[in-house]
């Protein structure tokens, strides 16, 4: 089997109602999409065979994204054109393919290659002095916050932060670039909170995943 094993990387967007589908459920949604497309996904051996799928970085519930990445393994070679013909019609609303790429089997796991992620946070309400507040936050030596009952410092996780001059739909928007390494992942809603903005009154959109070594 391993001789014909093929690994494909899929770059995709996640919008519409599927943004309320969590990480594990999204994985299952992908598996079912491949099954509907009758593409030969590979399975991990074991008591409870699991489809071989890897998502780059979990997207929190409710966020939209234009830059999600999935690695999938097929038991037999599958060409990009086959994928285009069969996979696209089987996709649910809200998942859209940006591009496909063949990846060597030896390449390290997707999750280990991601360094950071960039987001747009759009405000529902008009806020004064947004840029000034962003600068002030960046000047803090540390931003101690609590997540799931544990204290942590948000500041080193923020790589970039600024208000955008022309934001879509006339709403205020900030750009934030956050570390996304295993064990050191910044959350955009935490940045909003630290800026004194209620996360319930924002919409978060992931715009880019940055690979290690600037791939």
């Amino acid at each position: 089997m391993s001789e014909t094993l093929t690994r494909i990387r899929i770059y995709f967007s996640k919008t519409a109602s599927i943004r309320f589908t969590g990480h594990l459920d999204l994985q299952r949604t992908w598996e079912r999409t491949f099954r509907r497309a009758r593409l030969p996904i590979a399975f991990r051996q074991g008591f409870n065979p699991q489809a071989r799928l890897n998502l780059a970085l979990a997207l929190p519930l409710g966020f939209t994204s234009q830059c999600e990445i999935l690695d999938v393994w097929f038991e037999n070679p599958v060409s990009i054109s086959e994928l285009e013909t069969h996979l696209v019609p089987a996709l649910p609303v809200g998942l859209e393919i940006n591009r496909f790429q063949e990846v060597t089997l030896s390449e390290p796991a997707l999750q280990t290659q991601i360094a950071s992620a960039e987001y747009h946070i759009t405000m529902d309400n008009q806020l004064p002095e947004l840029q000034a507040n962003c600068e002030k936050l960046l000047q803090s030596p540390s931003i101690i916050r609590q997540w799931k009952g544990k204290n942590y410092d948000l500041r080193p996780l923020i790589l970039e932060l600024r208000a955008l001059p022309d934001s879509p739909a006339g709403k205020q928007c900030i750009f934030v670039h956050l570390a996304a390494r295993e064990g050191a992942t910044g959350r955009p809603e935490e940045v909003a909170s630290a800026l004194g903005i209620s996360p319930d009154l924002t919409k978060v959109h992931r715009i880019n995943l940055v690979f290690l070594n600037n791939e």
Partner: protein, 650 residues
């Protein structure tokens, strides 16, 4: 109140990020059907009054959704009960219950169909009507409001929900749902009153319009009979059946979020020939009709391509009794071997053949094997007409362990008629014997899980006369089992006695029970099947408020000739047959599988024409050849109790 889909959508943007599992409330799943609202003549909302995760696992709902949406002049959309966090945000933002497909408020549909497979959905049904801004009482609704229809197994006793529902579907929905649609379409064009619609519906085979009937009670409070208030309404409402099962539905909506069952469900057979006396499903779903093997295989294949599900459920009340079960199982595992599927085959009989069947489904996970002896002594299994010997049971368990399963789940009930503490003790003894066998074969990994529920005497069964155990009796029996079934390898699951009481009141209630349900809902009862929400005290208070005695419904001795509040609903299994079967049970007399010998339960005389039109193996009842009815049949027929509809066809 918010009225249009755009406003609802906008509100959802704000409230969805604040609730648990927002994926329940968004719709947009693969295979959902969205039609042009403005151009579709008749709009139906199908509601399962519990959480999305349960409703999306219900086969009946999926079938009706498919059938309705195949009609170009009809659209069907879905709605489920929002959990309390969502409901409170909906109410505070003035958002009514809306359909998942197009976010239309439920009040803008022509027909709302509630699925009521079990009784603990009653308060939710009222709550959802209220959340939709629709008057909860049928009598307060006008031509402006949708027609409220309800169907499902619980509605075989429709009386507790009578004031809230305009029309009940008694029996199988596949055909009648379209007849209801036609009746509503006709009525819409004519500008007639709502009552005229109800009267026209009442003449359809399988429809019960409760407003056209009035129950009467004696001085002692016991129900004495139902009065028909409208001469066009039938004296008895005969259940609807689909004489020949249509090919299975293959287009299922694929949920984004995890649901109770995410699988391709295929009903391989409807009905059961075993005649277990406690089992309502077995009595009300007669006659047995099987689907051909090829049709099932073809349906699985199509449904897998349509959905991408990784599991298939071959569903019936008694899988082992499906005539070609071995062929079916072999065919399924051969045909779909390369697809990495898991196949579930529930409801297997206690015999080694069942182990062969599970074995043939090669990739079936060897996690647990479920058997339902229902009682632990041979004596009790004869009373309930599930005659299996202890030896047969133990041999089957030995076979299961030796073929690689580690965990055997055994389902029992306590509270059977004529039960003694000896029968209860036998449950613990039997579980330990089974565990012992497991230890001999596979050692310390062997596990036995006992699921012990409490018997409730359901309407339309041979046990409908039986008195329910009291809360104290149930506690005493459970206390014994909890103490006895301790230790490594043993696990016990049980239902709380209070849950059992509620189930018994609701399933046995007459029309007065509606007041109790309404009061309980007003005091906050909802999601009664969920322990996070179920509040026994509310129900006790609701009884007090209405002046009804809960023990009247559960613990009163009933004479054998008592009239029941559901007697005007005919499953076509005659009351005379049920009475005889109950009396037989008291003598420990059993009946064999009725495929071996017809006991003239009443199905055949009533549906003789349908049987004649569907000859051969389509039904598992004997064939009816002659158009002439034999004198024996005439004797069995209680012509008085037959509705006009069936009489005219004889």
């Amino acid at each position: 109140m918010i009225k249009n889909p755009a406003e609802i959508q906008e509100t959802l943007e704000c409230i969805l990020p604040q609730v648990q599992k927002p994926g329940r409330y968004t719709g947009g799943e693969f295979n959902q059907v969205v039609k042009d609202w403005g151009k579709t003549e008749l709009k139906v909302a199908l509601v399962f009054p519990d959480l999305y995760e349960l409703g999306m696992s219900n086969l009946g709902l999926a079938i009706l959704y498919d059938i309705l949406n195949q009609r170009p002049d009809v659209l069907a959309e879905r709605a489920f009960a929002p959990w309390s966090d969502m409901e409170s945000r909906m109410r505070s933002s003035g958002t009514p219950l809306y359909s998942l497909e197009t976010m239309h408020p439920l009040s803008s549909f022509d027909v709302i169909g509630f699925s009521l497979p079990y009784e603990t959905l009653y308060t939710n049904t009222i709550n959802l009507l209220d959340l939709s801004g629709i008057p909860v009482f049928s009598s307060e609704r006008t031509s402006e409001h949708p027609l409220i229809v309800a169907g499902g197994h619980a509605t075989y006793n429709p009386e507790p929900m009578a004031p809230f529902v305009d029309a009940f579907v008694i029996g199988e929905g596949e055909e009648i749902i379209l007849e209801i649609i036609d009746a509503v379409k006709d009525w819409k064009g004519q500008g007639k009153s709502r009552r005229e619609l109800l009267i026209s519906l009442s003449s359809l085979w399988g429809i019960y319009v409760p407003a056209l009937y009035k129950p009467n009670y004696g001085d002692d409070g016991v129900f004495i009979g139902i009065q028909v208030l409208e001469k066009k309404a039938p004296r008895q409402v005969v259940k609807r059946i689909t004489a020949k099962l249509p090919p299975p539905t293959t287009r299922f909506i694929v949920p984004y979020i995890d649901t109770v069952h995410s699988r391709v469900p295929v009903e391989i057979m409807r009905g059961c020939t075993r005649g277990c006396r406690f089992c309502q499903a077995g009595m009300i779903t007669r006659p047995v009709r099987e689907r051909p093997v090829e049709e099932i295989i073809e349906a699985i294949s199509q449904a897998l391509d349509n959905t991408g599900f990784e599991e298939v459920g071959l569903l019936s009340l008694s899988s082992s009794d499906y005539t070609d079960i071995l062929q079916l199982v072999q065919e399924v595992s051969k045909r779909f071997a390369s697809r990495h599927l898991s196949i579930s085959l529930p409801s297997l009989r206690i015999e080694s053949f069942s182990v062969d069947l599970m074995d043939a489904l090669k990739d079936a996970r060897r996690s647990g094997f479920t058997l339902a002896p229902e009682a632990a002594t041979e004596r009790m299994r004869e009373i309930i007409n599930k005659p299996v010997t202890d030896q047969q049971l133990l041999d089957t368990c030995r076979e299961i362990f030796s073929r690689g399963w580690h965990n055997i789940k055994l389902y029992f009930m306590i509270g059977h008629p004529a039960e003694t503490m000896e029968d209860v003790k036998a449950i613990a003894r039997l579980c330990k014997d089974v565990l012992q066998i497991g230890k001999q074969i596979i050692g310390g990994r062997a596990q036995v899980t006992a699921g012990v529920s409490t018997f409730v005497a359901k309407p339309h069964t041979p046990f409908q006369w039986v008195v329910c155990d009291t809360v104290d009796q149930i506690y005493a029996k459970q206390r014994y089992l909890k103490a006895a079934l301790r230790g490594k390898g043993l696990k016990l699951n049980w239902n709380s006695p209070e849950d059992t009481m509620l189930e018994a009141w609701l399933s046995r209630g007459d029309r007065r029970m509606a007041d109790v349900i309404y009061e309980a809902w007003r005091m906050g009862a909802k999601f009664d099947a969920w322990k996070e929400h179920f509040n026994y005290q509310i129900w006790i208070q609701a009884f007090e408020k209405t002046g009804l005695d809960p023990t009247f419904y559960t613990h009163r001795e009933r004479p054998i000739d008592e009239s029941f509040p559901w007697d005007h609903i005919s499953t076509t299994v005659r009351k005379k047959f049920l009475t005889e079967d109950y009396l037989w049970s008291l003598q420990g007399k059993t009946r064999v599988d009725c495929r071996e010998r017809c006991f003239a339960c009443g199905i055949l005389p009533t549906f003789a024409d349908l049987r004649r039109e569907n000859p051969g193996d389509t039904w598992q009842c004997p064939e009816v050849k002659s158009r002439k009815i034999s004198t024996q049949d005439l004797e069995l027929l209680n012509l008085e109790s037959l509705p006009v509809l069936v009489k005219s066809s004889l």
